[in-house]
């Protein structure tokens, strides 16, 4: 691959106080790819997500996005480079309506493309259209996840970071959400970096994958290869496909 990756994470270390959460992580996401990061609880997946967004800040290493060093940028300026995130725990605005939540997502362009983009989100997640005037906090878990992704899409991102979109959702809803991600990637060419516990679904969806153990990337490869790898199978897949 000759072109520089869209997002490049190089030997990044992150600490919570004195506890090292990330111990020199290298990850690259190329333009137009879906990349999945899988790993057990506490492996540091979400920490990596948050570190890319500068909260917490990396203590060592560099993070580059589209040629810009974003390691030391404040979070809101990183977001302005068009990295959007559906964070862990969804973090929608519970007292605001669905439409207002989407409006917040479009703040970067000051609602310039709001009408157009909101239609796109509603085609992707028709459920959100039905719930348009309802408060975010009254939605079901799956709908909140859709809203969180929809809100991230309203920012017209170049890179979409998704932190466990399948968490706590019924298999059918998970499939809907994964289908939506695939569709976005195919039709819009959206680059997606996905953190998942649901290794099977994520690796099937992804072009490439990384496996994280104890704050380090231990394995990487194409989604298909990782799915076939006996070690990955033993650790994350056997004993119940999701």
């Amino acid at each position: 691959m000759a072109a520089k990756p869209l997002l490049q994470v190089e030997v990044v270390e992150t600490y919570y106080g004195n506890i090292r959460a990330l111990g020199g992580v290298d990850v690259a996401v190329n333009e137009g790819e879906i990349v999945a990061l899988i790993g057990a609880n506490g492996a540091g997946k979400s920490t990596l997500m948050m570190t890319i967004f500068g909260n917490p800040r990396a203590r060592a290493g560099t993070i580059t996005f589209a040629g810009t060093d974003i390691t030391h940028m404040p979070t809101h300026e990183i977001a302005r480079l068009r990295i959007a995130q559906s964070p862990e725990g969804r973090r929608i605005f519970p007292r605001m309506t669905v439409l207002e939540n989407l409006q917040m997502g479009a703040s970067l362009d000051n609602l310039q493309y709001f009408d157009e983009d909101v239609e796109k989100v509603f085609t992707l997640f028709p459920r959100l259209k039905e719930r348009m005037s309802q408060r975010g906090g009254t939605l079901s878990g799956g709908e909140q996840q859709m809203l969180s992704i929809g809100r991230a899409l309203m920012a017209r991102p170049k890179l979409l970071l998704l932190d466990e979109p399948s968490l706590g959702l019924a298999p059918l809803i998970v499939r809907q959400i994964f289908d939506a991600i695939r569709q976005l990637n195919k039709t819009e060419g959206l680059t997606v970096f996905l953190v998942e516990q649901n290794a099977f679904g994520a690796l099937k969806l992804a072009d490439r994958g990384y496996v994280m153990v104890n704050g380090r990337v231990t394995m990487s490869g194409s989604g298909r290869d990782l799915l076939a790898d006996p070690e990955v199978r033993a650790a994350y897949l056997e004993g119940g496909r999701h």
Partner: protein, 462 residues
């Protein structure tokens, strides 16, 4: 489940339950009061400790508890549950509101504009003074203060317990500049607002990283610091003695309200002299200032900064990851909220003609916060109602002379205002834990405004 079944099985089991629960309550109260009430230690004439037995009093207390519990279980509780059920059944049907209900803010504003006229017609020129000044202006000052604080607390979700500091800054700005340089109110009003906004930013900077209770403590301290500075910086503020002789507001220089002035209103219009004109003028002035606050708040909510405030209240981290500069957003909330506090302060100084640190104690901040919370954070209507109830209510207490008939001629009702204030607050918080108006008006609509039943937009309680 259990309760519904037992209710279905008939009236008799409810009666049995009432008997059972009243016996139980009686037992508890007996256990509780036997030492507290039943036995009393006392000294007899020879200074010896004796135990007085008060079994009669104890028995009547226990009996009262039992009867109360019995009636509650038998009548009050089923009635409450029936009402709850009925409410749940009716709620999803969005009731068609009447014309009056739909336009009631317009009617309310209209009423506020004709209020002084009504008062003059009802009580005569001198008689209206009390109602326009003590009641009308007093309530409106707090409405304005609470609406200003609402921007910080209700919209941006930053609990500010030192709001009175900005009120003080505004009041002293007008008081000092007005007395020292004789500048007009109309120049000093914006100046007082700007000064307060400046101090709002000054306070905002150090507390940017704080939230919730920590923020509350620091803002509380800030309120006290401003007051202590005013008391101790005698060369400028005249300390605890305060500043007096603050010039009155003129009607844009066309006429004024000083009897000695050649432009005194009574001379200009050739009418009888009276102090009431000034009060009525002040009433309209504070009404317009309050409406300005409301108007700006409503407009801002639809602008990016207002939306960012509300989002900030909900989730700061999410805001940042959506590209919102939370630092600027918080500072603008502090500055704009403080600015309205400053306006109100300048008005207060002009109205009183005298300011002293006494007027800016913590209790004032607490009352303003209480009004915002009682009204339902973020709702302008709710806050106005809360201000009317709390401030107007305490003023009305003075009028309740009939209470003297009940409690004896020495009873001064206004002395009990903090007690009643507290009771009222507890009752409202039990009855409406989210304040008078808990529903939030959405600001985003797709193409056209669609009426949505409040049953769908309201969050579940507790």
């Amino acid at each position: 489940m259990e309760r519904t079944i037992s209710r279905n099985s008939g009236e008799s089991s409810l009666f049995a339950a009432a008997i059972r629960e009243s016996l139980f309550a009686g037992l508890i109260s007996l256990g509780l009061f036997i030492m507290l009430v039943g036995l009393k230690t006392d000294q007899n004439i020879r200074n010896e400790l004796v135990i007085e037995q008060r079994w009669g009093l104890l028995a009547s207390l226990v009996a009262l508890t039992m009867v109360g519990r019995f009636l509650y279980v038998l009548f009050v509780r089923p009635a409450l549950e029936r009402r709850k059920l009925q409410k749940a059944r009716v709620a999803p049907k969005a009731a068609e509101k009447s014309y009056l209900a739909r336009n009631w803010t317009k009617f309310a504003v209209l009423f506020l504009f004709i209020y002084p006229v009504l008062m003059v017609l009802m009580f005569g020129l001198q008689g209206s003074l009390k109602w326009v000044d003590n009641f009308g202006i007093q309530v409106l000052i707090y409405v304005m203060l609470a609406w200003g604080l609402n921007i910080v607390v209700g919209l941006a979700g930053l609990l500010d317990l030192g709001y009175v500091a900005f009120y003080a800054v505004g009041a002293y700005s007008y008081a000092l500049l007005g007395t020292q340089f004789g500048w007009s109110f109309w120049i000093l009003l914006p100046a007082a607002g700007l000064m307060a906004a400046f101090w709002g930013v000054i306070l905002g900077f150090p507390v940017l990283r704080l939230r919730g209770d920590y923020l509350a403590i620091v803002t509380l301290a800030f309120g006290e610091i401003i007051r202590l500075v005013i008391i101790n910086w005698r060369e400028v503020t005249n300390g605890a003695a305060g500043v007096s002789g603050i010039p009155k507001v003129t009607f844009f220089g066309l006429f004024d309200f000083n009897i000695s002035s050649p432009y005194y209103i009574a001379k200009v219009f050739d009418i009888a002299q009276s102090g009431v004109y000034y009060k009525i003028f002040l009433y309209y002035l504070i009404l317009l200032l309050a409406l300005l606050t409301a108007f700006v708040t409503i407009r801002l909510r639809r602008l990016p900064v207002g939306r960012a405030w509300e989002a900030l209240r909900e989730d700061e981290i999410a805001c940042r990851s959506l590209g919102i500069n939370t630092t600027n957003t918080k500072l603008t909330a502090f500055a704009i909220g403080a600015m309205f506090g400053g306006f109100a302060g300048a008005f207060f100084a002009a109205r009183q003609g005298f300011v002293s640190p006494e007027s800016f104690v913590f209790l004032e901040s607490a009352i303003i916060v209480a009004i915002v919370v009682l009204g339902g954070m973020g709702s302008l209507t709710g806050i106005a109602i809360a201000a009317l109830v709390t401030i107007g209510g305490t003023e009305i207490l003075r009028e309740m002379q009939f209470l003297k008939v009940i409690f004896g001629p020495d009873f001064t009702p206004e002395l009990y205002r903090m007690l009643l204030f507290g009771i009222a607050m507890v009752i409202v918080m039990v009855w409406k834990p989210r304040g008078f108006v808990s529903s939030r008006e959405p600001t985003a609509f797709l193409h056209e405004r669609k009426a949505v039943s409040s049953a769908f937009t309201k969050e579940g309680h507790g």
